[in-house]
Structure formats: structure tokens, C-alpha cells
């Protein structure tokens, strides 16, 4: 928190110390989740960091619009999604080679991760965004399927289908041909 405060010195406007404190109290505990959410959406660490910066700036500017503090995480993730979409629209971003991305990004985490985790990370990276995002919201951020539907503005059956397909693909990737074809499409 101290280092965060030190790096916040350039925030401008007529915001009071109380507003600043409110922002830090609400958003600081969410930064790790925010980064991971962005990382898994764009699959690129430095881009995730850049968009996280933009997200926090936009959140700071609109902190007064957040009336329900319990909804802070959902509010922040919504801003993050929009910021990432804006980034993709305004920049000509290089195409991500999934194999090399999985290897290079995987190497950065390799020290503390075992083989199974790396293989799963590689498999998740290859899921398409439609399936990856609800999985991240559910497994990592603990969203219910109803909350995911609300967050992504899609129907509950669509959420259930996407989650089922995501796990089906991952299971086949991890277990290979040995995956029992029990789950129907």
C-alpha cells in the first residue's frame, strides 16, 4: 500500500484525500485479480500491465459513480474489458503465436510451477476467448454462473454451454485420447 501511495502522487483534479483513500481501499485488494483477468484475456503480460494502468486511471476518474461498494470488483472488471477492447480497436497489435506465447510466458512462471500446471496453462491459452473468459471468472474469481451471465451480458444457458465446452476441450487436451467421451456436446 505504501509503494502504491508513493506512485500515486500525480493524480490530479479536485479529489479529496478521502476520495483517494476510498479508491485505494476498494481497488488495491483487487489488483492481483484485475491483472490476472486481463492477462488471460489478452495472453500477454506487458499488454495486461498497460491496460491495467489505463483501467485504474479510468476507474479513478469515475470512482464517484460507484455507489455500491460491494460491486467494486465487477465494476472494475467491466472497465477493464472495455479498456482492452479499446486497445485492440485503436492499436494494430501484433498477432500472438499461441505456441511461442505459451512457451515464453510459461517460462516466466516455470520456476514455481510443476509440469501439469504448465500443460494446463498452455491448454487454457489455446482456448478461444469466448470459452476462456467465463472459465477465468468462475474458477479464478469465484463468480457464479448467474453472475457470469450478468457480467458478460449473455444468457445463462450460453454461460453453461461455454463453461462445459471449455472444460471438455481442456480435458481432451490434458488427457488426450484417453479422455472418456462422457460429456455430451
Amino acid at each position: 500500500m505504501n509503494s502504491s501511495a508513493d506512485r500515486s502522487v500525480q493524480m490530479t483534479g479536485n479529489r479529496t484525500q478521502a476520495a483517494r483513500q476510498r479508491f485505494d481501499t476498494l481497488c488495491a485488494p483487487l489488483k492481483a485479480d484485475l491483472f490476472r483477468f486481463l492477462y488471460w484475456l489478452c495472453r500477454n503480460r506487458s499488454l495486461a500491465e498497460d491496460v491495467m494502468q489505463e483501467t485504474l486511471l479510468r476507474a479513478w476518474k469515475s470512482i464517484d459513480s460507484l455507489s455500491d461498494e460491494k460491486a467494486a470488483r465487477s465494476w472494475l472488471l467491466t472497465i477493464a474489458r472495455r479498456e482492452l477492447a479499446r486497445t485492440f480497436e485503436r492499436k494494430r497489435l501484433p498477432t500472438v503465436d499461441l505456441d511461442s506465447a505459451a512457451i515464453s510466458e510459461g517460462d516466466a512462471f516455470a520456476v514455481e510451477d510443476d509440469h501439469d500446471v504448465r500443460e494446463m496453462r498452455r491448454a487454457i491459452m489455446q482456448l478461444d476467448a469466448t470459452h476462456r473468459e467465463p472459465l477465468v471468472l468462475q474458477v479464478m474469481l469465484g463468480y457464479s454462473t448467474e453472475e457470469i451471465a450478468e457480467q458478460l451480458n449473455i444468457s445463462l444457458p450460453a454461460v453453461l454451454t461455454r463453461l462445459h465446452r471449455a472444460r471438455h476441450v481442456l480435458r481432451k487436451q490434458i488427457l488426450g485420447d484417453g479422455a472418456r467421451e462422457g460429456a455430451s456436446e
Binding site: K31, F35, R36, Q53, L57, V117, Q138, T145, I154, I174
Partner: protein, 222 residues
């Protein structure tokens, strides 16, 4: 609840506390094993998703440079210059460029493939954008809802006899008066006026005209 229904439900949420799910796994060892396997896989998924976050990243705070008077003046001048150039530039060219950029971002999907997106998934994605597609009108190997100009739009890859093409159903765009060609970054394509908005079809070394006309005839707007 039958086994395949349970496994679909477990696939969507292995921690489901639905009484029907819990009752079924009490009496079906195969489904109980399936659920255990999915729970173990979720633990692995969680570990994989929880990538380490550097302390510098956690220290990130919004930074905004102080605004000075000379910056305001410079900003006004820049605004006038940009407005002039935007006025001169064609907005259609801008749309074409954004379509190509978007397609490049998911170029991994634009490959020859025998995979087909199942009808339910495809319908769900199209329904999110308020459209549907006539049954078996296109061989869709990839379908995704993508953010574009503030809307979720269907992004499809359709297999044609000449190769794969990318189709974006842009129902929220301003319609063009006529077909607009796209030729950029190795992509050839068209932006077709549709009953609502436009449909963009792009390919690489693949004729897109036929595919575009087929898609235009196949997509139905609600």
C-alpha cells in the same frame, strides 16, 4: 436426471450443489468419478490461472500528468489538425482497417479445418447479437463473440471450397450504400450493406465475393 445431463451440468459447474446432481452422484459411481475428476481438474485450472503477479504490478496506481496551460493550447491545435485530417479521410477506410486489425488478432482461427461449431454454440453467439443463421447455410469452423465498437459482434470463420474466410456480422455499424472492397495487409475482402448494419468478409488468397453473398442471404435479423 440422466448421466449425460448430469455430466453436462458438472462440466459447467463441478461444484454444483443442485439437489438433482447430488442425488444422482450418490447412486451412480461412474458420474461420481466423473465429478471427482472434474473437481481435480478445476484445482489444476485454478493453479494454472493464478499466474504470479509481480510486486511492481501490484504497486500500479493511476497516474495522470498535471495539465498545464501550454498543454491545453497544444491540445486545441492538435484537435483542429486531427479534425481536419479525419474530415478528409474516409470513415469507410477506417472501418476496413479496424476490421483487418480485428481479424489479424484472431488469425489463428482462419485456417483450413474440418472442425464445425455445433449449432447450439453458434446460435448462442449469433443470438447475443440479435441475429441467426439459416440451418446448414455455412460450414462454420470457428465462432466467437468479440468486442467491436462497443458491441459484442459475431466473429465467424467459414470454410469455403477455396479456403477459410472470416465473417464479422456488424449489425451496429452504419450501413454502406454499396459494397466496399478491402485490400490491406494481405487480406482481400468486402464490406456488404446488410438489412441491419454491414457484413464484412475477409480472406487471404481466397475469393470472398461468393462467400459474402451467401452469408448475406443466410443471416437473418430479429
Amino acid at each position: 436426471m440422466k448421466c449425460h445431463e448430469l455430466q453436462t451440468a458438472i462440466g459447467a459447474d463441478p461444484k454444483s450443489a443442485d439437489p438433482e446432481v447430488l442425488a444422482h452422484v450418490q447412486t451412480c459411481s461412474a458420474c461420481a468419478e466423473y465429478r471427482d475428476q472434474m473437481l481435480r481438474m478445476d484445482t489444476l485450472i485454478y493453479k494454472a490461472l493464478a499466474v504470479p503477479v509481480q510486486s511492481e504490478t501490484l504497486a500500479t496506481a493511476p497516474r495522470e500528468a498535471p495539465v498545464r496551460h501550454w498543454q491545453i493550447a497544444a491540445s486545441l491545435l492538435a484537435t483542429v489538425a486531427i479534425a481536419g485530417s479525419v474530415w478528409v479521410a474516409s470513415t469507410r477506410d477506417s472501418l476496413a482497417e479496424q476490421i483487418v486489425t480485428h481479424t489479424e488478432h484472431e488469425s489463428f482461427a482462419m485456417v483450413r479445418s474440418d472442425d464445425r461449431v455445433d449449432a447450439k454454440t453458434l446460435n448462442d453467439i449469433l443470438a447475443d447479437a440479435g441475429v441467426s443463421i439459416k440451418a446448414e447455410a455455412a460450414d462454420v469452423s470457428y465462432a466467437s463473440s468479440c468486442p467491436f465498437h462497443g458491441h459484442e459482434v459475431p466473429h465467424l470463420v467459414v470454410q469455403t471450397e477455396h479456403g477459410p474466410v472470416t465473417v464479422l456480422v456488424l449489425a451496429h455499424e452504419k450501413p454502406t450504400k454499396s459494397m466496399q472492397p478491402i485490400s490491406e495487409a494481405g487480406y482481400e475482402g468486402v464490406i456488404m450493406p446488410a438489412p441491419r448494419g454491414v457484413i464484412a468478409v475477409l480472406g487471404k488468397d481466397v475469393p470472398v465475393q461468393d462467400a459474402a453473398e451467401k452469408m448475406l442471404a443466410a443471416v437473418e435479423y430479429r
